[in-house]
Structure formats: C-alpha cells, structure tokens
Symmetry: D2
Subunit: 367 residues, 4 copies
C-alpha cells in the first residue's frame, strides 16, 4: 500500500519537503484515547535539529489536528495531522537535475520520469518523518497507558560505543532525560566530537540505534509473513537511512553456537514461563514471548555533504562535481531515535488491535 502501513491501525503519509504542508492520516485507532498536544510537541522537538551538530534549518513544527479528535480524545474515525512547511529555502537546491549521490534523486527520476517534486528531496525528504513522529506520540501515549514502554539509545556513532543496556527500566528512564540519547554520557560527548570533526571536513557520519520495548504482551504476531520481525522491519526500513535491522543479538547470533543462542526457558518468581536470557529479542517463531522486544537499526551517514562528489546532471547528461550548499546535518542518528520509536509504536498498535480487537487500546478497555 505504498505510503500506508497497517491494517487494524493504519497510517498514511503524504507531503513534500517544500510543499505547503505535510501530514498523515491515522485510521483504526480506538475511540476515547486522550490526545495530548504537549506530548506531540515534545516528540516533534526530539526530532528537531538543535545545537552545533545539526543543520541550521529551524523547524518549529506547528502541527494541526484536522480530524479524528473530539473533545481532546480520539473519536475512532480517521485522525489527520497537518504540519506546515514554513522555513524551506528552495534556492538552496536550485539545479534539481543535478543528482545528489546517496539520495533518492536518481531513483525518483527513474520511477517518476521527471514529474517528481525535487525540491529538498520532495516526498523522499527526512522532513516527512515529522508527521510520523506526531502520530507516533499518540500511539506511544496510548501504549504507555497499557504498560508498554519504548526506549531507544544510540549504540554507536562512527565507531564510538555507548555502554549496553543493563537494567532496562532504569535505562529507559535515563534515556527519557537525555537530549542526546546515550546511556554513557562520556561516550555521548565523544560521539558529538566525532560528529563535529566530520562536519569540519564537510562530511557526515552514521551509527546504530538500539530499541527496547517493555511490557509487550506474549502471543502477538504471526508465523511467517506477519512475524513481529517482518512487521517491524518493514516499518523500520521505511525510515530514511536505515540500511540494516537485527533482532535480539542479530548478526552476532550467527557466530554463536546453539547452546549459547537459545534462551533457556524457566519460571519467573510468579511462576510464569519466561526465558532466562533474551538473545532472541523477545520473539520466537515471529510471536512475542513476553520478554522485552529488542532490536537495532543501522543508520547510514547523512548523504548530503559539503564536500564535492562525482555525479551527473540528468538534464544535460554530463558528469559533474557536486557540493551541497544547503544546511544539513553531519549526523541524523540521534534525531532518528524518535522516528524509530514512532514506527515501532505504529507497528505495535496495529498488531495489538489485530490481536485483541479495535477497542483494546482505549483506556477504558480491560487489558
């Protein structure tokens, strides 16, 4: 469904970087969920660039809820969020036929034959994640009321490592308070240094994000094509710049023996069946097992560079040297954290409503 994700709960994205407005439509959300404009604003500000390590473009994101909320609560019918584009400067991207390496410029041309809106990347712009994040704030809130909490840390940037998750509840609380979401603040400072170094060189860096979900009920997801891994990865790879996704210990599992990779099954203090370790990231056979979900996303370096790169102008058919004069981020990994959490919340809301019915996410419903 192209720009739509989900069945029981769905989200449809629209808009271009330099159009009047961008937005999304949420469908299938249970009626009666409180919608907090402050929480949406807070989520949007986590996505917004800030400080020396980010682009100079300031995006105040004055969103507007056009439908689907009545008296401060979801009505149960489609919820449309609009975010105006106020600060675009199209002159920064004048010659749209000059293809930016690492961007979708070439593939947009190959698919849309030159009719695409190329300004600022058009519909492919990372800007389009803003309505995703606004929607994500609503989903995240609704999940939290059901005891389901999502948190994301930067596992590494340009090779600089954060410390691993330890006490998940405490670590998630810690991350809430951090503008730059790492567990080890010293590592976070080092990361910001390497980002600034790259910036000085007109270059950029990437990194890895690791996400944890606490409180996810067992028995959600399906064998085969609607496995939780399948659904989550489908949404995670929609996030611009994500080029790898792994669950639990992921690629590291492939170097283990089975006796190490298998999570031993045991009883917890209440007698509930659980696993002693969580190398499989809370999912077996595509279905949640009640342990925390855990997965990581590889985020490639921002493709827009001040440094010159080889390219082609598709209008003239000539090879060129291209340097971006626009304002861009030397690193988007930290800003992508809230985007990753937003699509995670969308996937979980959809899977939970499919499993337990469309009223399940409503605050009143019995869990």
């Amino acid at each position: 469904m192209k720009n739509t994700f989900g069945t029981a709960v769905s989200l449809t994205l629209f808009g271009e970087s330099h159009g009047a407005e961008i937005g999304c439509v949420i469908d299938g959300l249970a009626p009666g969920i409180p919608v907090s404009e402050e929480r949406i604003a807070a989520a949007l500000s986590r996505r917004r660039p800030s400080g020396a390590i980010s682009t100079g473009r300031q995006e105040p994101d004055p969103f507007r809820i056009v439908s689907g909320v009545y008296n401060g609560k979801t009505s149960g019918t489609p919820l449309c969020i609009l975010i105006p584009n106020t600060t675009q400067r199209s002159s920064d991207y004048a010659a749209f036929t000059r293809l930016r390496p690492g961007h979708a410029d070439l593939t947009a041309f190959q698919k849309y034959h030159g009719y695409q809106d190329p300004r600022g990347g058009g519909h492919f712009s990372g800007r389009i994640t803003a309505p995703l994040v606004a929607a994500g704030a609503i989903f995240t809130d609704a999940l939290l009321k059901k005891g389901i909490a999502i948190g994301t840390r930067i596992r590494r940037i340009a090779g600089v490592q954060d410390r691993p998750f330890e006490d998940l509840e405490a670590d998630l609380a810690l991350l809430q308070s951090r503008p730059f979401p790492v567990l080890d603040e010293a590592a976070g400072e080092k990361m910001q240094e390497v980002i600034l170094e790259a910036k000085k060189d007109g270059d950029s860096v990437g990194g890895v994000l690791e996400t944890v979900v606490l409180g996810m009920p067992a028995g959600v997801g399906e064998p085969w094509f609607d496995s939780m891994e399948s659904s989550l990865s489908r949404a995670l790879f929609a996030v611009p710049a994500v080029k790898g996704v792994e669950f639990g210990d992921g690629f590291a599992l492939s170097d283990m023996r089975g006796s190490e990779a298998n999570d031993p099954i045991c009883l917890d203090e209440k007698g509930t069946i659980t696993t002693r370790t969580n190398r499989n990231g809370g999912i077996n056979g595509g279905i949640t097992n009640g342990a925390p979900l855990r997965f990581a996303c590889a985020v490639k370096p921002t493709p827009t560079l001040l440094r010159e790169q080889d390219s082609v102008d598709y209008a003239t058919g000539e090879t060129i040297r291209l340097s971006s004069g626009g304002r861009h981020d030397p690193c988007i990994v930290h800003r992508a954290a809230v985007v990753v959490e937003s699509v995670t919340a969308l996937v979980l809301a959809d899977a939970l409503a499919a499993r337990f019915g469309t009223d399940w996410l409503a605050p009143e419903a019995e869990k």
Copy 2:
C-alpha cells in the same frame, strides 16, 4: 495477512510438519509461464539435507501441482502446490508440552492456548519452507527469462569467512555449481569442519547468507512503507532463524563517513546513469536504481540440540532438562540459501507485476 505475502503476485502457505501434506497457493502469476517440474525438483533438492552435516531425515519431496497449470504453463489462476509429508516420526517429539528453547513452542502455546499442532514444530517447522521453495523455483525461472538472476553465497559460518563477491556474473555461475554455496572452496571445507565439530558436541552453528540480484530494472519499489528494503525484509524475516537483514554494506555503513558510503553517480559505457560503487545495495529511497540488489541475512544456529538445555513442561509447570533425540541439522545455513532466494523471487515478482502490470512476467510480454 498472516500466511500470505504479496498483492499483485501473492503466496499463501499452509501445513504442518507432521500433517498429511503441506503446500502453498500462488495467485496473480501471469498466464503462459512454463512450469518445469525438473526445476522445482532441483530447487527442492537444494533445500534437502544431505551428507554428514545435515539431519538424517530424508525428504524426497514428491510435490504435486493441483491447480493453475494447464498444458505445462501457468493458466493465470491460482496455482496450488502440495508436498506430502512421508517420513515424519512423531515419536521423536513425544512430550509436546516440553518446550524446546529457541523454538516457537512457547510462543505457539501463548498464542494458540494449547490447540496448536506441536508435532515437529507444526506450522512453525522449517519443513514448511519446502512449498516456498517449490514456488520459488517457478518465480525464479520466470524472472530469469526476463534477465533477472538471483544468487546466494554463505558469507560466513561460525566465524569462518568466504571470500567477497567480485565478478558478480561469474560468481553467480560458480554458485550454481556448488552444492555447498561458497565462492572459496577451501573456506567451504573449513565451514563444514566447524559444523561437524559442533555436531560432535551435540551443538549447532549459524551463519550469514549474502544474496545478489542481477538485471533488476530501475524504478521499482516505493518510498516509505513499500520500499524494496521494507518488502524484502518482511519476506526475509519470515524465513525461520533469520534474525538480521542488511542491504548493501548494511551495518558497516554505520561506521563509514558519507563521502565513503555515498555511491558516486556516473555514466556507464552506454551513457546510462549508474553508480560507481554499490554500497547501498542497488536501492535508494526504497527504489531500485538499476545496480545489482545486494543484501545479507543473519541465520541463527539451529535451535534443536542433542545437548541438554534448561526448560519447562507447560503441562506440569515444572522445570526440566531437555535434550532432543530427533534427527536434526547442526547447521541449516547452506540449506536456507534456496529459501532466501525463493522469498526474494516472490518479492520481486510481486513488485514487478505491480509496477509493470500482471502480464509483464509472461514470456511473450515485451519487457
């Protein structure tokens, strides 16, 4: 859609490891595609265990095409393939309430409340990939006639590395001839040694598969939720034991700078716009750019072990020590290669039919 993947071309899986038959239904395939029973048999034999490194269970896979083929060619209506289960020995898995760590036994119980067919893993069994592979042979053949070739190598097993892809066409031809799909035969022998070592210990090993697709047209895939990465990962994570997926240089991209990660854009000898390197795996902004697709899957070690593991019997609620007496593979990485190729072919057939129309895959249609 649970056990169904695809829209323009779709596949629905059914069956259990120890039922009478397993199978699949393909829908939307263009009419007039020749269906070769030998090619299906050959694909099934690639999936079949063989030699010392595999389970003793012999699966001759005498498939049967029940519908959708007329006079040796696809009719355009649903194609059902059935594969009888002939050699199952249910006594190997007697106490079904004894949960096997690393398997879906626990989650199947959590989801289906004890009504699931537990024999040999039931619907979660790797056995269910057999109809996927039979279907994959039909898709793969149809794609090949359109100039689209898929190949998979074992990148590494238990830490032993194959050599990287170099000349893709030559390397794909090489892999066709190899029962154990590595480029470097010495590495392949070393891998088989570590597999046998693990077997001796009653243990198992995992690995990484790397897949390449040549000849894929540019401009296929969508921005956001139907990006080629989204569609491919959704299907790849449906393959049992896959816990990580990366495109192009994937997780390694996250340690590069943008100037290294971006593929410079250039003109090829015919003047077609292309990229000099292929670190992004042939996909930008979710859409194919005409370069080869390239991605890797992390395969965790086979969860069934002869070694004893801690577990729980859900009928008695007691903790137990569990050892599998059944016949099982110390490694399934090499057998998974054809499964990965099969779901890849399904995803591509679906994306191409969506892009170019339902007759595109027919041999007669103009490309």
Copy 3:
C-alpha cells in the same frame, strides 16, 4: 487480493473444474473451534444437485482437511480443505474455443490469452464454490456457537414468489428442514414446476435469494469502504451468477418517502435501544445496529443451455450455433443458497475477529 477474501479471517480459493482437486485455505480462524466433518458434509450436500431439477452430474464431494485441524479442533494456523474432482467428463466440453454465451469463456480468453484451463469453465466453474461451502460450514458453526444464525430463503424463481419472512427465528428453523428452501411449500412446488418447464425447453431460469442473520452484535463494520454493505456485497458478487445485491428493502426503498424508509428508534423490553422496523437491513452508516441483517441477491439464469445460441469460435474466428450437450442445471438458485450463506459467514467471521480480536470466535472466549 484476487482469490483471497478477508484480513482478520481470510479465505483463499484455488482449483479448476476438471483438475485433480479444488480447495481453499482459511487463515486467522481462532484456535479451539471444533470442526465437524458431518456438518461440512451436510453443507456440501445442500450445494449438491439432486432430483429432476438439477444436473445429472453427481458430486459426492469427499473432502479432506489437510492442515489447521488438530485433535478435531482448529489449531489457529492455516486450514486447508481439498475436494477431489472425481466425476468430470471433459469430452462434454470438447471444443473449448467455442465460447459459451453468458459464461466467462470470452473474458477468460481476453484476460489469460488462451492459457486458461477451459475444461468445464476451469477456475470460473460453479464447482469452485464447493470448498467455499466446506469452509462456510466451519464459519457457520463457529458463529452459531456465538449465537449468530444465518438463514436463506428463495424469495422468487422465474417470477413465482415465496411468502415474506415473518417470525424470523421460526422461519429460519423451517428453512433448516427444507431441501428446497422456501417458506411457503406450495410456492416451492410451483417454482419447481417452472424450472422443469424451462428444462423441457432446453432453457433455464433465475431467481432471488433473501438472507437473514440473527444475533449479530451491534457496532461491527466501518464507515465508508469497509461498511458491512461493502464487505458483504464484495463477497456476494463473487458468487457466480449473482448480478444484484440489496440490503433491507433495497431497491424498494428508492420508491419510499423518508418517513416510511427510516426505521423509528425505540427501546425494546429490556430497555436496549433498537429500531421498530428493519427496512435498512440492520445496518446504518455501514455499521450493524443489532437488528437482524437482511439482504437479497439476484441470481441470473444458468447460462448453459441445451438450446442453440449464437456465438463465435475464437480459434477459427467464425460465428457458430452452439448447444451444450453437457449435464447442467436448469436452475441453480436453490443450490446457491448455501453458497451465499457461506460467504456471509466468512464476511462476518472476518468482521467480528477484526472488531473483537482473533480469539473472539473461539468457544471459550467470553463474548
């Protein structure tokens, strides 16, 4: 999704009239639903032709459940039903390029370019409704355990009218006992007379079926494209020969005034809000209101005739006179009743599972 209907609960059809087997795959059905082979056989016998008014082709329908049932109950994973084709006589339909008027022969050729299986109508044959009916028996049973009962009467055949529904519960019980499903037995006899008259003339007749669903919960269905009318009509128009569908008083509503067409809202004896009349067929704004669902299907006369008709042979490009020598029904209206009920049960199972969660249809779940 072509041959698949449904999301929460889905059904995929496959097979051709003269293939080895036809069948379907049900997905998403709750685990633990008892599957009664006798009820399936009984439903299939309702679909089967019998007596003078039907084709001579005898179809014993010895179905086989291939997957998804374990210990007599649904396992929760895909349920595949196979029905062998045993009695086809392909020589009856020798010259497949001679297009039968009123059939799909021409359109199958236009769509599949001659690759379609033409024997006995191939995948377009009414025969393919047999697996639909087998599946329908399982859905119908599960719904009945939740207090939801479906019944269908012949409203009219070739202009001969049955009496209208009066006491719905009593009338549904009455219909259960009638091999020829009318409320007024005298009308039923008259209908059978006109059918035999048509047969004598080498001709055929059509009619109208009216279906009622008791016990349907309120609040199911969606505004706009997933209205209950939308979902039901989508499935009902999949039934071969159905060319019209109306809900409640349907086309007759268009000749009423609003004061007559509106169902006055009142309180029932328990104080529940309900409607005094049911001209809207239990659905307002696409959503069930708790009143019985009521709708009718126009069934066109069987297209296969002994009488000669004008046609074309697409192989020779010549106009011809065509008479069917095969065994065919002068009327299929009575046989279509159980098919209409089967797709109705599928639609309701899907809508209820979407609304109340995937376990709702399980006998144990609280309603």
Copy 4:
C-alpha cells in the same frame, strides 16, 4: 482498510462535517497526469446543492491541493486534497444524544461509545463525499484521456421514470449538459415536482441512478473476490444512502430465462469478438468483456426530515419525538450522481493500474 479503498491506486478519506477541514489522500496515481483545478471545481459544483429542491446550506468548496501535484501535474507521490468547512451551523444539531432515525447516530454510538464527533453526522456526513468528488475529477479526467468515459442518469425518483439509455455516446453527451441528470427532460421536471411535494410535507424521496462506462478495455477484473462487480459494489455501497446495486439488467435478470439473459456472442464490424446485447453489464465471470459497463444504485430517501419521528435520547434513555430543524435535502439522488461516478473512477483507476502497470494512466504511456 476502513477509510481506504484500492491497492494499485488508493484513496483514504478523513474529516468530519463540522471539523476545520475534510479531505483525502490519493496514492499510486501515475506521474505526469495534468490536474485541472477547474475540472475539480466543476465536479464539486455538481455535488453542491442548488435551487429549491436542495438544502439551503451553501458550500463553495474552496479546495486546496496540499501535495502530490508539481507544476500542474501529478508527481506520482501521495496527493492530498483539503476542503475547508466554512458554513456549518452546529446549533442546528444541538442535542447530539437525540438519535436521528435512518442516520448513523445510533451505530456510531454503538461503535465509538460516545466518543464520536456527532456534529452534523461527523465522519458519517454526506459532506465527506466532497473530497471523494474532488479526487474523482482527477481520476475521471485521466480515464477520459485513455478513452474511458463515465456517465450517470437518474433512472427514477419516487417512482417517476426517465427514458432508458439508447445511443450511449449521445446520451452521455446529453447528460454532461444537464444540471439535473435525466435523458427525458419532461420526466426530470416531474421528478422535481415530486421532490418539492415531499419537501412541502417535511418529507424526502429516493431514487435509482444508472451508470454507464464506455471504452473500458476487456480483460480487467478477477474471478471471485476481486470481480469487477465485487470491487465496484464495495465502493458503491460506501456512498451514503446506497442500499442496492445491480449490474446489467440486475434483478430483472432473475425473472428472465437463460436464452434471454445470455448475451449472444458475435463479431463486430472490425471482426472483434463482442456481444450482441449487454444484459450482463459488460462483465462476465468478474472480468470486463469490452462492452460498456452498466450498473444501477438504489438511493434511499434522505433520512433527515422536518416531520417528527419516534426516537430515543441515549443520554436520558427516554423515548422522544424528533424533528430536524436543520437545512436538509428532500432528495439527494441527483447530487449523488457525481459521487457514484467518482467512486467508479477510483475503482477503474485501481483495476487498470493493477492490470497494466502503474504508468498506464499517465498520458504519455502507450495504451
């Protein structure tokens, strides 16, 4: 998918009658299709009430295209249309807990538990068809450029009959010029008289619309659940007040004999295989046969009446007498014509893009 229709080309509806804005998102439309704001405005004015027979509410419908159009042509990415609500007077509908008979008030309450936006019917309002019509203008235009023309006449209102279609091309041209879409102007005047009579009585009337599509290619649609009848009826029953849909001669077919109902197959003057009559409405076995599509929709009388009706106030639980003081239409049949055409165009655009590829609707593409 609730408020979304379509796969290859899709449309998502959102908004409430008295919200700030209503709108829709179109996805999958080919790039390069010219978007004419005048044609959209013209379509909206066909939907707008006018004259004595309609509500006093004036809706200038100053729509705004928010995304998906670049330099006056579709870009290929999601196209969002917004229409502000400017003239609502919520005081007309003060006591929202007083359930209006024939409306969705009761079912909205049953589904959304009182959280629904009840003002002016909220998301169930006929007002929400405005963005459908705006989108429909774009689809209709694109189809017309491919030689596919859609026209709708009022077959009857309150029992007053128009003359049948005769020369389809001429009749479609005639309907283009008629603000009140009938073929026989005298019948149209009589219809308007009965509408005014009903209005005088504080009552309303319904009618039947008949739609024809010329130029539809053969071989589009699918057997079974995606039959053209299934897809069209799904969308047509989404149009508020539609309670019956029939294809070709529809319900009248059920009173014919097969020899009359079957359309004889013949060769046209160019030697193309066609049918002599078109009783089946251009569709056999769910697939278009190249003849004009023809179908009719039963539109029930407008439920809002000045006359008092019995109802219930769900807040107090008391029975009441209810009269609508708002401005409403004594008849919406004529205004529904453009809505029916709009959803028809959506269904056809989706089916054609699925059949022939996503670029097919672009003006440049070869047909």
